[in-house]
């Protein structure tokens, strides 16, 4: 096995090993450190000495042994501090009951724990990537462009918060589950976006984050195949990521969807995403991830930009607008309306949105206005709007794109 294969194997085994160790010994905080050390040891030894017959059992044994050491040391320290009265071993030291659930449940409980509502989104993301994704602190720090020391502090604070909250290692009560799952989905969505939407920083690592988000969402989908929003989120990620190869030119410039070379889209992801969303949509209530996935599917299935089924996209945005009051969704809806009913109708909707304080001064509104003005043939006004949009964004690739759009139009002077 190459070290890359070993790395993949370790990322898959990490949450199961951690789940088992925490279930057996409690002490999530210390157990997480112990399992991380076992993973690092395995990453060093396995490529050299070969993978043990039962790699999961190896990780659990080494992790448990390390945890025992760490707990003993902590216990000794506390004894020295004469606080032994307040210290007792976790109740979970006793052997697990015979009816203990399978490993898959451990992974789900871990995910819910890492996305605990008491943590900030940044901490939820970091802890999820480490405890469930099996990434090292250094890898996570690199992906988020922060110093390793900062990430180490963020993760240990997050673990302390969870330790102090006293949440037991088991599924939250049924009444809380939907709400807790929603947080997990949002964290996975944020990880994906961090990798996909960013146009700065070392590109390789950012793309890895999207791949990691897809892997974790796939894992969640395997555990909860009947949850429509989990399926929807996985489909949305696949259908969005499918366009990645065509999204930027060789020199890093942004290429808008209608100008992308569709032969470069990832056909395998599109097929998988479309079949996931087609299976999920008819079942139960349709949430925002499913709707966004459905919109992405309509785009991805169009053989060319001109062949896009805009009436369907417009209808899907109308349903999406009913689920939440989001001005960005409304702006996208205005574009769809313009494609179906003409640019003047779309511009009318844009002008209504311009009075909305949340988006009225946003570069995206100006960019849409510019695009629709261009469609009406008012090139002077379109140029002006493209320039206004460029001045409002702080992203250089976007600025370059917008100035280039303006420069294509005939100069009114």
């Amino acid at each position: 096995m190459t070290s890359q294969d070993v790395e993949g194997l370790l990322h898959r085994l990490a949450p199961r090993a951690l789940g088992t160790v925490v279930r057996r010994f409690g002490n999530f905080d210390t157990a997480e450190d112990a399992v991380q050390e076992a993973l690092i040891a395995a990453a060093e030894q396995w490529p050299r000495d070969g993978v043990p017959d039962n790699p999961l059992a190896w990780l659990i044994t080494v992790g448990s042994r390390r945890l025992t050491d760490l707990l003993r040391r902590e216990q000794a320290r506390r004894r020295r501090e004469d606080t032994v009265a307040s210290w007792r071993l976790s109740d979970d030291w006793c052997s697990p009951p015979a009816d203990r659930p399978a490993d898959a449940d451990d992974t789900l409980i871990l995910l819910l724990l890492c996305c605990h509502p008491a943590l900030s989104p940044a901490s939820q993301i970091a802890l999820t990537l480490r405890a469930v994704g099996g990434l090292t602190t250094a890898e996570i720090a690199r992906a988020f462009l922060v110093p390793e020391a900062t990430m180490t502090r963020r993760i240990s604070r997050a673990k302390q918060t969870i330790g102090n909250s006293g949440v037991p290692f088991r599924m939250p009560p049924r009444s809380e589950q939907a709400q807790r799952l929603a947080v997990v989905l949002r964290v996975l969505y944020l990880i994906f976006n961090e990798g996909y939407a960013s146009t700065s920083g070392p590109h390789l690592y950012r793309a890895d984050l999207s791949a990691e988000a897809i892997r974790l969402t796939r894992l969640l989908h395997q555990m909860l195949p009947d949850d429509g929003e989990t399926t929807g989120l996985l489909a949305l990620m696949l259908l969005t990521d499918a366009r990645r190869p065509a999204r930027t030119g060789p020199d890093g410039t942004l290429i808008p969807m209608d100008e992308q070379d569709r032969t470069r889209w990832n056909a395998g992801y599109i097929t998988e995403g479309v079949s996931l969303i087609s299976a999920a949509l008819p079942c139960g209530t349709t949430g925002p991830y499913q709707l966004q996935a459905a919109i992405a599917a309509v785009h991805d299935e169009a053989p060319s930009a001109d062949a896009t089924d805009w009436p369907q996209i417009m209808a899907l945005y109308e349903v999406l607008m009913q689920t939440s009051d989001n001005p960005v969704v409304a702006l996208n809806h205005a574009v769809a309306v313009a494609m179906v009913r003409g640019p003047h109708t779309g511009l009318g909707l844009v002008e209504q949105l311009a009075t909305d304080g949340r988006i009225g001064q946003d570069h995206r509104l100006f960019a849409v206005r510019a695009h629709l003005l261009e469609m009406t043939g008012d090139h002077a006004a379109a140029r002006q709007a493209y320039h206004a949009a460029a001045q409002r964004t702080t992203s250089q690739p976007q600025q370059r794109y917008l100035y280039t759009q303006a420069a294509r139009l005939p100069d009114p002077r």
């Binding site: 700065s200 020199d251 320039h387 600025q399 370059r400 100035y403």
Partner: protein, 139 residues
């Protein structure tokens, strides 16, 4: 010891890089890509050598807000207070290395970054030691 390496640019430099039409020559996409690649390599070498601490690029000077105290509890703000050609802080990289000379060596390499126009090249960078006395307490 930690050092902050500071890069400077004017609004006009930002505009040229963003491709804004003006009487100055604008940057071609290839030139921007080449510069990003250079900076990426420079940064990666610091990460690999363990000297990298933090780096951030700042948005164009036009997005600056200068706050002149409070007036009846409301901040008194001037937007984008810089003339077109005034050079202001554009970004920084914090490195941790044994000596001022090493920090100078790292900083000097950035002045060789490729740039198309004369005016856009970083003619200078500045390095200042960070007074890290409180580091021991926050760690």
């Amino acid at each position: 010891m930690k050092y902050m390496i500071m890069l400077y640019a004017s609004q006009r430099d930002y505009d040229q890089m963003a491709g804004k039409p003006s009487d100055q020559p604008e940057w071609k996409p290839e030139a921007v890509a080449e510069m990003h690649e250079f900076m990426g390599r420079w940064n990666q070498e610091l990460i690999d050598s363990g000297e990298f601490v933090d780096a951030q690029g700042l948005a164009a000077p036009v997005h600056t807000r200068r706050i002149h105290g409070l007036d009846g509890g409301v901040p008194v703000v001037t937007d984008g207070p810089y003339p077109e050609t005034q050079e202001v802080l554009a970004g920084y990289t914090i490195v941790e290395c044994p000596s001022f000379d090493r920090a100078t060596e790292i900083a000097a390499r950035i002045t060789t970054a490729p740039s198309p126009g004369e005016s856009s090249s970083p003619r200078y960078v500045e390095v200042r030691p960070i007074d890290g006395g409180s580091d021991d307490f926050t760690g």
